[in-house]
Symmetry: D2
Subunit: 344 residues, 4 copies
Amino acid sequence: MIKASIIGATGYSGVVLAGILSSHKDVEIVSLTSQSYKGQYYSDIYKNFKGVLDIKLEEENIDEISKKSDVIFLALPHGIASKKITQDVLKQAKVIDLGADFRLKNITTYQAWYNTQHFGENLLNKAIYGLPEWNKEQIKTACLVANPGCYATASILTVAPLLKEGVIHSDDIIIDAKSGVSGAGRGLSIDTHFCECNETIKAYKVATHRHTPEIEQVLSDISGNNVLLNFTPHLVPMNRGILISAYLNSKKDISIDELKQVYKKYYLDKPFVRLFDDVVQTRWTKGTNYCDISVFKDERTGRIIAFGAIDNLYKGASGQAVQNMNIMFGLDEKTSLQNTAVFP
Amino acid sequence: MIKASIIGATGYSGVVLAGILSSHKDVEIVSLTSQSYKGQYYSDIYKNFKGVLDIKLEEENIDEISKKSDVIFLALPHGIASKKITQDVLKQAKVIDLGADFRLKNITTYQAWYNTQHFGENLLNKAIYGLPEWNKEQIKTACLVANPGCYATASILTVAPLLKEGVIHSDDIIIDAKSGVSGAGRGLSIDTHFCECNETIKAYKVATHRHTPEIEQVLSDISGNNVLLNFTPHLVPMNRGILISAYLNSKKDISIDELKQVYKKYYLDKPFVRLFDDVVQTRWTKGTNYCDISVFKDERTGRIIAFGAIDNLYKGASGQAVQNMNIMFGLDEKTSLQNTAVFP
Amino acid sequence: MIKASIIGATGYSGVVLAGILSSHKDVEIVSLTSQSYKGQYYSDIYKNFKGVLDIKLEEENIDEISKKSDVIFLALPHGIASKKITQDVLKQAKVIDLGADFRLKNITTYQAWYNTQHFGENLLNKAIYGLPEWNKEQIKTACLVANPGCYATASILTVAPLLKEGVIHSDDIIIDAKSGVSGAGRGLSIDTHFCECNETIKAYKVATHRHTPEIEQVLSDISGNNVLLNFTPHLVPMNRGILISAYLNSKKDISIDELKQVYKKYYLDKPFVRLFDDVVQTRWTKGTNYCDISVFKDERTGRIIAFGAIDNLYKGASGQAVQNMNIMFGLDEKTSLQNTAVFP
Amino acid sequence: MIKASIIGATGYSGVVLAGILSSHKDVEIVSLTSQSYKGQYYSDIYKNFKGVLDIKLEEENIDEISKKSDVIFLALPHGIASKKITQDVLKQAKVIDLGADFRLKNITTYQAWYNTQHFGENLLNKAIYGLPEWNKEQIKTACLVANPGCYATASILTVAPLLKEGVIHSDDIIIDAKSGVSGAGRGLSIDTHFCECNETIKAYKVATHRHTPEIEQVLSDISGNNVLLNFTPHLVPMNRGILISAYLNSKKDISIDELKQVYKKYYLDKPFVRLFDDVVQTRWTKGTNYCDISVFKDERTGRIIAFGAIDNLYKGASGQAVQNMNIMFGLDEKTSLQNTAVFP
């Protein structure tokens, strides 16, 4: 059994992660920590865990925890993981960071977009970006995985094949993204008050969302071209789910069938990407590790429109983290991640 | 492996059942039928099943299906199952009927409340009411199980211990019930149009809901007293979940601690009933087979208030059906039903 | 023009009040105050007021404000109004308090349920309970009106006729109440986080909600009997609306037609009470000052079931406050309150 | 008083229109018609109208109705109005058609996109496109107004100033649109079943939505250039509201301040367009005739991003229809349309 701990178990990524790990056939949870709720029972905070995970939340002591764990998941606000993860910790346990601290390779970019200092520069080159559909080999031997952002996961998976294959211009990409409210986390703010986000839709962080440089970096790496894009997130009155609508400019004339072939080439053997002919919706991915994708061509304008749907907390965070763990520990990447979306 | 078939696989009970069975470790799905969608792929109707259950929907031919099945689940509108289930079918396969046709023992009561004829009177005495928390022994050897109604499940589980123990009057029970919209099924009606049930709450079928005689019959059986109650369902703008608020009159003075002891006496060994000190909510049961219960006493009026929360399509329908199947086939009743509510 | 001010204009009662007053044909808004947002433009806090009410929020100085106002509305947390409203203020302006401080006549009851001191005992006997359907004459000459609580408004209007007419027992009343999330106010709390109250239903404050003694006091006053009741509020995932389901025990046999006659007797001439034969729902009252009521009889048990639906922030707070103002200033009580529920 | 009739009063546009007209100070409703509900009371179909508009729904007889009406509003599915509106009707009454039949000037385009015949070709040249912010003079003297589509209204208002001013390329416009469910109408379909559209988001009619040629035609007319655009609608789990996110390519370098000046130039004197510095959201326009707009520039990519929010049934349909009526009858265009969004 893999001994696993979660640092920051009471945020939304933490609780989804706890759910997956508690039913993972090869995992034993050894420690859950929480700043705000230490000393309390996990099942008193999240009552769905009553009778399932009735353990006490511990103080965050990553050094101690690393000694009794094979893998540590960090689900913390940005700027904290880069302090907590040290060479010593990495000697004891593999680390999967669900936060943003080890995703961007360029520390100047990180500090510009995140407006905070980075304390773990010496470990940056060890961190592997944990998007298994494009990076599985490197993840296998990683000791530190930077788990992708939710928007980044959906955006990269949706756009990458066309870029990699040279079908589209790399500097004329528009991503209009829509997310459920859980993406904003469990912290209290007027923006997540029920009455303020129910029955309305709006954009936010226009041209300034922090997943933008992450998407650009990874897509540039994949395609070998410098990617520049517009990214605009919107808040949708629902709990879970991200839908990406990508507007892409083809370099040459390409038919819809050829477009679909490109996606098949890269994803037919990927267990968590499903290709659809019709529009996708977030519903069918809810509570699963799937990314559902479909591609269209507007014959009038020639533009390509691609859609990607994920569960922001599953494939966009905790499910993908476990997928990475599976790969890092030599398990089948699908292990204990094969549930079907609960509907209705 | 238990060979299982679902007659009526494309309704909401059917799809939840298909989800549970498709990941059940001891079950192989042999046939899914649908009147409306026969010939189509299941995963084209419910896209969450893409890559999970890509089989074709068959015509409903229960005789044929019974020959290749160990168990048949019927998820049909009332009045149909009583025609389809015959002695011949029961010779071939065990049957679990998720509909109402075999729940009421008194055929006159059935015809009065359901306003339709009953065609299976000769089988009524074979049908076992499938509420395992109160009826497990009989279910073990049943060939035909009448799976309880959703409201009935929550109501009976919430009220039964106090009645059985003689704590409350059996003729002064008020059940105010609240259900998500999936309880109304997938059929089209103006009442389930998004704009008509979103952002509003209302009661419906006041004093006339068909689960009323079912609850009364089963509670009378359990308690040995003639139970008479008011049942009032309300429609809540959410997909899933039933909450029962029961207002009960105690026969004698009883403390809140004694009340909780009564519930513990009957439920502490029941894997799918969880007792809480605080109010319960439907959220923590969503997508699970749990019934969460808590009891309160209004010290000013002396009245007892008990709450029960379930997922109407899980413990209130398909989860319970699989729990019954597990028992009928000698499996641990928890088999493949131990998931945790997905939250948020 | 009536010069009106709102103390506490940025809570949900405040903003609905500002909306009504800003389009009231006989009212001029002279001052809006806010503790949290003073100095800011109202239309920057609530952008629906852009171009409608672009005035600056002032510091709360009730003495100054009373000098320039004909009427002051207070929309403050309990315990504050009883300090702010003084004899001096009442000499300058009429006051309508949307909070709880002047509703309960018995100061001991107030302090027991609200767990705070009362600072305005000397003014309690001046305060008139502002439920115009039952108290219009007294409101006409009041200088201080205690505007009813939201749950209290719906509960009293729904139950009062049957009590007044002696149809039902006064000590065997059960009120199961359901409210949208705006009833919890705009303050931040995990209970009103979108993800925590969306897609779920639960009871809260079982047997302890502070509107209980208010309902009992007013119903006792109306009926001349000592009323004792169970009140249980539930939180519904919607912004607005309260539905009351009242379970009542008749003293004698009474037909459904006679029951409807009782309601007609008291409400046929009341412009804001509408009687329906079918179930009512909160939707049809949204954004209006109506209380929609219907009554049923369960012929099997003999029990009476009455439903009342209001908009918690309109008839349950700010609409009723303006109705009271209209009456206090000799206007038709319907003035500028005759809008129709926006649907869908 | 203007005598007004509504043909098709029981759809969602019809009911919002009935609400506005019933409180319009210069209008008297003379006739409401309905195919499905003729003979029934309007307030039995829409209970919010109880005590407000208790009149009977008539059979659709436009010739009869035109004789007793000054203005007729048609709120019908496409393909029907072009049959019903004749020269004879137009001699009797002014007509405002909320449907699509008279919006497109090119009948071939109409028949290609709407897949139906057009029966009123001879009247096409009389029809004035009723977008008062760009077309007020023509509307003043129109006898037949084609009321704009909901998506078209928001899209055109959001993009037109930049096109008219020559700031952006006319053939590289991307509009990502999001709409509440009421946009799909009141007709029954699995897509508008509560459980099927709640808690999910998806695109629909990708590259094929019928408002596309309408937006292109009107923007081409306004700008004098041939406009070609991508239009992608999405379905959002809420009742009301449309948000347009427009991605635009500037011809030359232009600062954000200059961009805002362009909008001010065209809209500062328009009573129903409000310009914001921050993102807009549909909430603040709900139940109002406002179109709220804000514009941003992505300094990294140079792209312009403009947002427009409306209530799809108000400014996107019935509110705008009444605005047109006001103009056609010489009233102030704001008459009886100056309500504020009800919030929360």
